[in-house]
């Protein structure tokens, strides 16, 4: 992007740094302000709080990349600065009530609002969605998505000191891996309705939140969806299975192949993607929103996901 943009990144952990580096590449002329209390940041334009940002505006985009429990406050502060767009890392907030407050605050404002579901920009998931869209598999009866990664492998820092360790800061498999709740609805182009769940803490991880969740949903067109989320799996693995009237589909992150099989023949699609390319695509998409006149928002999608996450957690609690 040739245009000089004025951008704020709030929060400079792993994901904030990744977006910063990708923005430098995609919009090199941009001025990027970082809001962070960290003292180890080697970059110019670092401020310690939102309050000092006013004088550097107006902003094209404010990106909320801090811990989940800080999202609501940061988004509301960002809205006050009236940028053209707000990007927030998923999940949108800690709960539906916070998400609704954000929705209310955005009402009437001409601000693009984008919750960053990075997996929507991941090649395997994009390919699966396209296969569904082209009706290659026929009527979809069942879809299973599974995502598991051990927290100790996932977090660069001591996981016990991250927000992932506590439910009240946004930790737990359900919220931390909310993109897997989002994926089926996004790929099927249908809302998913909660049916059942079991969650629990089964590992010895030092976390005050669930480390596994199994849940079942259904769409209006009767597709049954099951979702597995865990932060215990060694080694980490993602997979997707679809059973449909014409054929079945299987993909997993180990093989990097999508296999479509109708019982007589099977075809394989090799889908490889780097983790960062997914974020580059996401950021390119977000930057393109800035050029659009009509206001974009995926807040309703994010609120639906949050509602489903809450249902999984509240009805699935381990009674032990």
């Amino acid at each position: 992007m040739k245009k000089e943009l004025n951008i704020v990144i709030c929060g400079f952990g792993t994901i904030g740094q990744r977006h910063f580096n990708n923005l430098k590449r995609l919009a090199p002329k941009s001025k990027i302000y970082i809001v962070s209390k960290r003292k180890d940041i080697v970059a110019s334009n670092v401020v310690r709080s939102f309050s000092v940002l006013q004088k550097f505006g107006p902003f094209d985009a404010i990106m909320v990349c801090n811990e989940t429990y800080k999202h609501k406050k940061s988004i509301l502060q960002a809205i006050n600065l009236q940028p053209r767009a707000i990007f927030v890392e998923k999940p949108i907030a800690l709960n539906t009530s916070e998400a609704m407050e954000i929705k209310k605050a955005l009402k009437g404002k001409r601000i693009h609002f984008f919750v960053g579901y990075s997996r929507q920009f991941w090649k395997p998931y994009i390919t699966i969605k396209n296969i569904i869209k082209k009706k290659q598999l026929g009527k979809i009866y069942y879809m299973r998505v599974s995502c598991g990664q051990n927290l100790t492998d996932w977090r660069k820092r001591d996981y016990r000191k991250t927000y992932s360790a506590k439910s009240k800061t946004g930790g737990g498999a359900v919220l931390d891996i909310i993109h897997e709740i989002n994926f089926p609805a996004w790929a099927l182009l249908e809302k998913i309705r909660y049916k059942a769940s079991i969650t629990g803490k089964v590992s010895a991880l030092k976390v005050e939140a669930e480390d596994i969740a199994e849940s079942v949903f259904q769409t209006n067109s009767k597709t049954v969806v099951s979702i597995h989320q865990d932060c215990i799996r060694v080694p980490g693995k993602w997979s997707c299975d679809i059973i449909a009237s014409k054929a079945s589909l299987h993909w997993n992150s180990f093989s990097e192949k999508i296999i479509i099989s109708d019982g007589k023949k099977s075809s394989r699609i090799f889908v490889s993607d780097t983790w960062n390319n997914m974020f580059v695509r996401e950021m390119s998409y977000f930057l393109k929103l800035l050029e659009k006149k009509n206001t974009f928002s995926n807040i309703l999608e994010a609120i639906n996901d949050m509602r489903n996450a809450e249902l999984i957690k509240s009805y699935g609690k381990n009674k032990r």
């Binding site: 069942y142 079991i198 199994e214 060694v234 014409k246 079945s248």
Partner: protein, 330 residues
């Protein structure tokens, strides 16, 4: 002690499982003169008489009176077991039943069981080489403590018995549907692997396809074991490509069994190794290793001879079928 060759086995129901049990008895050196069958269906009886050269009856009681069996092998559709096991228990006769889809009659049955005769519900997969191998991997602690699991079983119903109209077979009917039969079947060996019982089970059971059946064709169950292990069991009658995959997530790594590929993959942070299971003895179009059925019947025979204790009881089976009932009302 009576010699096993002198024992007489009466097979009730001469469908695919009844025929299999005849083969299993013959494999285990039971003389064909000591095996007879009962079925009301003429064609099945004729087929069995021709193929296995055993005597058959079209009347259950006539078979009892004329053949004087020592043991019943109840291979009827899963909702028709009660009449025959209640007969056996009243007569104190040894009996074996195929997988049930209901525990109807168990309340009357269980108090009547005693050590004078063997009451053996099927638990075939405990004899499968893959299950034995998974148990040995877990015993060696190769993936650490077990925390969670994912299980999937799917096969297109019209392919189950390609030789007959699927819509007329018991597995097409609501009360004895394929998913209803396979959920307890799968839970049986899963619980055996985890050495635990079910604490909680719920989910979705539906008919989602256009198959000409009244039975549900999709079961999606989320399960929690008494030991705390959490997992999911999914069974469908829809997948054009038969598949049974079972994953265990442990503290040190994960294990993935692929039934069709005959592999068990063990993945840890440092390495991934694949165990290739030996080729199986397949009969006709069936995917399951025939030797598991042979070994199961061998154990029934040995338990009748009082040489070995049969490994699975009706009390165990009642717990699994109660879990099935809980799932169906969830």
């Amino acid at each position: 002690m009576e010699k096993i060759k002198d024992k007489k086995f009466y097979i009730i129901g001469l469908g695919s499982m009844g025929k299999r049990r005849i083969r299993n008895l013959l494999f285990n050196k039971i003389k064909k003169e000591h095996i007879c069958g009962f079925d009301i269906n003429d064609n099945r009886r004729k087929e069995v008489e021709k193929e296995y050269r055993i005597r058959t009856f079209d009347n259950f009681k006539k078979g009892i009176l004329e053949f004087c069996p020592d043991a019943l092998i109840i291979s009827t559709p899963p909702d028709k077991h009660k009449k025959y096991f209640m007969f056996a228990v009243r007569e104190k006769m040894h009996f074996f039943t195929e997988v049930a889809t209901t525990n109807d009659g168990y309340k009357e049955l269980i108090p009547l069981l005693d050590e004078k005769f063997i009451a053996a519900p099927s638990c075939t997969f405990r004899y499968l080489s893959a299950i034995k191998k998974i148990n040995s991997i877990l015993k060696k602690n190769e993936i650490g403590n077990t925390l969670a699991f994912e299980h999937y079983l799917g096969q297109y119903l019209p392919d189950w018995h390609p030789y007959e109209d699927y819509s007329t077979v018991y597995f097409a009917k609501k009360q004895t549907g394929g998913c209803k039969e396979m959920l307890p079947y799968e839970l049986n060996w899963i619980l055996y692997i985890f050495k635990s019982e079910i604490k909680d089970i719920k989910g979705v059971h539906k008919k989602v396809s256009n198959l000409k059946i009244s039975a549900d064709d999709l079961y999606v169950a989320v399960v929690q074991m008494e030991r705390g292990i959490i997992g999911t069991v999914v069974i469908d009658l829809l997948n054009r490509t038969p598949r049974r995959t079972f994953t265990i997530i442990g503290t040190k790594g994960s294990l993935e069994w692929n039934w069709i590929d005959r592999t068990i993959t063990i993945s840890t942070r440092k390495k991934r190794s694949i165990v290739h299971l030996a080729k199986v003895k397949k009969i006709k179009h069936y995917n399951t290793d025939e030797s598991a059925y042979q070994d199961e019947i061998k154990d029934f025979i040995l338990s009748v001879q009082k040489k070995k204790k049969y490994p699975y009881t009706f009390k165990d089976d009642d717990k699994i079928l109660s879990a099935l009932n809980r799932f169906l009302v969830s």
